[in-house]
Symmetry: C2
Subunit: 296 residues, 2 copies
């Protein structure tokens, strides 16, 4: 047995991501997965789906004999739960999280040698352990944010664990991470919300645009709109400055497009679509799962 | 045989929509579908896929013996092709189009009693006859824009034809149509383009956000970005005023969100996501195919 391999895992927060970590870990041969959630129903569903082997009554008993703890809660409460997981009695353990923002938690826990920040990009817009899947992390980028104080052994443990789940671990600076996801995730979510709210609150000569939109292209954009208000309002708050900066950049582009439309500037309109088409092709190339994650 | 039923159909423009009309018509029992396209390859593919029975060498011979002509070309050239289809010698015929904007063509052809403007909402973002499908219009809203001069017989013919293809015909004023689709289709497309171009042209500490975004939520938004630059730049031009107005409305919402982020206004952020979530649920309800189109 590889010494670095996790045998006893604890999952704090058995929602969609936490339960998927449990399912993926069980499938990969992790011996024991213990789960904890304040929401008894989330815990029951995770147990019923065998995402966890046992539900623990409190945080200390959840983590006590685990080599690795995955904290999968809304970002607002994660730092406190990571700290509590590190401090609980029992064997020494490594703790990671799955939050969508890394600056805040990495600043708060910068001296914790056995904490490794993490963030899997799995594009999951649903919620709850009922939608959890063992293959949630296949070929997904899983950002890890080791700091100067991080113990190499803890980093290695988390890195091999996320590889075991099928993901591709990518080390990144926490602030660079936050600026990246402000663009790639938070900006699209924010815009999808704005567009859907504008369309949905407008009436055109008595017509409700959402009724008329059934089957239209608004639905692609809407899929990421209105996702879990608690989770996302915390993400927006945590990463407010980077998101505001990306919105400001978008506002400038929007003003240019408005001016081109008013001026009936055909060349500008065409060039702007062609620019988007080029980036879209690059995104398709990048999204192709050509580099499957290494397996043991 | 129902007198109103189309037996001989002509399709002018055998791209994605034209070829799908042909496939759906053949499946529904239309006897003869003739096709015409300036692009010989599009014509060949449509023929090979049996979306059309015969390729005609020019417009007059395509439409000569048809009861119905469907003009499925980029919106910039549609009015001239509709007019030419109406004026060609042979039996009297009804002509419809499938363009995404209706104000321009309906103004240009307001006195043509046998023209009925049309626009199927099928959310197809691909292009070319190779992607055509016989079920493209199942349960889709198909807008029709009859005017004062429109012959009831022509309107009835088009209405029963699109029902035959599985769509739900909805009569609407051309300008109301254009303001509606500015919100439900053109605004999402424009925004998807802007977001993708902004994200794709930014570098964060050397990282290309599109590389990092593989698997992320940007992809949902990107699906409608960069769609067919020729088709979409014409649509944007045709409907420039309504799209500019919807962008201006969005810009106001964007400024509000930016201010809330800068002020770390948690209550505003949460309320704005909850608003989007409400509209998203309404859209899901409207999108459910609970009202299948009437069949013969």
């Amino acid at each position: 047995v590889n010494e670095k391999r996790v045998q006893r895992l604890a999952v704090v927060g058995t929602g969609l991501i936490g339960a998927s970590v449990g399912l993926a870990a069980k499938r990969s041969g992790v011996e024991q997965v213990r789960g904890y959630d304040l929401d008894q129903e989330a815990l029951d569903v995770a147990l019923r789906r065998r995402a966890i082997d046992a539900a623990a009554p409190d945080l200390p008993s959840t983590v006590a004999d685990s080599e690795l703890v995955v904290v999968a809660t809304p970002v607002g409460v994660s730092p406190a739960l990571v700290a509590a997981s590190l401090e609980a009695t029992g064997r020494p353990r490594t703790v990671t999280d799955v939050g969508s923002t890394k600056g805040g938690i990495c600043t708060a826990l910068a001296r914790q040698a056995r904490f490794v920040g993490g963030h899997p990009l799995c594009g999951a817009e649903t919620r709850g352990p009922g939608m959890a899947r063992a293959d949630m992390f296949e070929h997904a980028t899983w950002f890890l944010t080791p700091l100067a104080a991080t113990e190499p052994e803890s980093y290695g443990l988390v890195e091999s664990f996320v590889s075991l789940l099928g993901a591709r671990p990518v080390a990144i600076d926490p602030d660079v991470h936050d600026r990246l996801v402000a663009l790639t995730s938070h900006l699209p979510h924010a815009l999808a919300n704005l567009v859907l709210s504008q369309v949905g609150s407008t009436r055109v000569a008595g017509h409700d645009p959402l009724e008329a939109a059934a089957g239209g292209s608004l639905r692609d954009l809407a899929r990421i709109a209105g996702a879990n208000p608690q989770v996302w309002s915390e993400i927006f708050l945590e990463n407010a400055d980077a998101i505001a900066a990306s919105l400001a950049g978008l506002r400038e582009r929007l003003e240019e497009l408005e001016a081109a439309l008013v001026a009936k500037d055909a060349a500008f309109l065409r060039a702007s679509i062609e620019e988007a088409a080029r980036h879209r092709r690059r995104l398709s190339d990048a999204s192709a799962p050509s580099r499957p994650a290494p397996r043991e």
